[in-house]
């Protein structure tokens, strides 16, 4: 058996050393730059590339990550982008009740597309307890930045385009934050619950909503 045949293979028939060299040459990098990306010394990279040493298991993951997904980097995402990517029920509602941002989790729950919700008024897209939550939050002063966090339990009733309603009970947490224009927005997070849990939560809250906290602890707005 030749020495080469005993070398553990990393990817596409290349040894770990071969893979690192291939990646480094195609990206026109120096060993020091690659070492920097992997969080090791240049000497370590040199030993790996000559197949003197095989990278440890955790480092193998990092190397494959780097090699396979070298173009997958992402800037810091904004709070709104976070909501636009949330796997759970989440939305940003403007002071006039306009649905500005909806999460994939909410779309999935309803079984509709972005265009069925975005840009519409809350009471256009839904009827019943969700629009009434909006009114309650207005009354409590959420958009005047008076209350900070509000917990609630309600049935969301989405008006289907084909007529009829899509109903599902949700445990909701609401708070405000200022939008890009400086005006307050209502942020909601929610999880679908069973009808029994809805009843239990309402007993706990003594109604649809419970004010958790008044506005406090801000980092300069």
């Amino acid at each position: 058996m030749t020495e080469g045949a005993r070398r553990p293979k990393a990817l596409n028939g290349l040894s770990w050393g071969g893979l690192l060299r291939h990646y480094r040459f195609t990206n026109r990098m120096k060993q020091t730059a690659l070492a920097e990306d992997l969080g090791v010394t240049q000497a370590m990279v040199s030993r790996w590339e000559r197949d003197k040493v095989v990278p440890g298991r955790a480092m193998q993951v990092r190397i494959l990550d780097l090699v396979n997904r070298k173009d997958l980097s992402e800037p810091v995402v904004s709070w709104r982008q976070e909501i636009a990517e949330a796997p759970f029920i989440a939305a940003v509602i403007g002071p006039d009740g306009e649905i500005e941002t909806v999460s994939p989790g909410l779309l999935r729950e309803i079984g509709c597309g972005q265009s069925d919700l975005r840009g519409k008024r809350l009471d256009e897209a839904f009827e019943g307890e969700l629009p009434s939550l909006y009114s309650k939050l207005c009354d409590e002063g959420l958009f005047d930045e008076r209350v900070e966090t509000v917990e609630s339990a309600e049935v969301y009733s989405f008006r289907r385009a084909t007529g009829g309603l899509k109903d599902f009970p949700v445990h909701t947490l609401s708070w405000w934050r200022r939008g890009e224009d400086g005006r307050p927005r209502w942020i909601l997070n929610g999880a679908r619950i069973r009808p029994l849990e809805l009843r239990a939560l309402r007993e706990e809250f003594g109604g649809q909503i419970r004010i958790v906290s008044e506005t406090q602890g801000l980092l300069g707005g």
């Binding site: 995402v77 990517e85 934050r177 999880a191 849990e197 801000l218």
Partner: protein, 214 residues
């Protein structure tokens, strides 16, 4: 049962990633960031090249900048709100210790708060989530080298002596920048159907997709 985990309690922050990532995200050049931090452009350049580490005061400032991209509330209020949240959220340290979980997460995995908070993730879960934790550690997540990750996992919990609870979970994972300075792992997830599980796995090309900071 205790599982030995490789990483120490806190991993050193990789400042070149953190600084350059923040700077490019904010659309600043080196001298503009230098102005914000009241240092010279040469200093910023040296930090980004790994030639020097920023002082503790600058480290705190940078972490506050990161914090303010998503939150306007103090970290204490944030924790309180997180614990109350009806969706599935968890905050995990580099050591694997689960620092805080949301009410929704407890409901999702049918567990009491004191049975999970301050416990280590590999002691509570098995399978996909533990592998995800190991992948994030290996990707330098706790060193500030990762911007976000998306996953679809089968959640398996060792529920005392009872049988494990299985559910499919779609998760988004982001670093949270805490004083220390310390990077924590915020899990934000939702239970999903087998169909959604398959669709997401196809879209992201596997169980996890890591997006690097740079």
């Amino acid at each position: 049962m205790t599982v030995e985990i490789a990483p120490p309690d806190a991993l050193p922050i990789h400042w070149p990633s953190v600084i350059k990532h923040y700077r490019l995200s904010a659309g600043l050049n080196q001298s503009e960031l230098a102005d914000q931090l009241a240092v010279t452009q040469t200093m910023v350049s040296r930090w980004e090249a790994g030639g020097a580490n920023p002082s503790r005061r600058i480290q705190d400032m940078l972490f506050d900048y990161y914090w303010s991209t998503s939150a306007t509330i103090s970290r204490d209020v944030w924790y309180e709100r997180l614990r109350r949240n009806p969706v599935s959220l968890a905050v995990v340290e580099a050591s694997g210790l689960i620092r805080a979980v949301s009410r929704g997460f407890l409901r999702h995995i049918q567990t009491e708060r004191n049975a999970i908070e301050t416990h280590h993730l590999p002691d509570i879960f098995s399978g996909d989530l533990v592998k995800l934790y190991e992948t994030l550690v290996a990707s330098g997540f706790f060193e500030g080298r990762v911007s976000s990750a998306e996953s679809v996992t089968e959640l398996v919990i060792e529920n005392g002596h009872e049988q494990a609870v299985h559910s499919f979970c779609h998760g988004i994972h982001r670093p949270v920048f805490m004083p220390g300075p310390e990077v924590l792992w915020l899990i934000a997830g939702a239970p999903v159907s087998a169909t959604v599980f398959r669709d997401v796995r196809r879209r992201i090309g596997g169980p996890v997709l890591v997006k690097r900071a740079l």
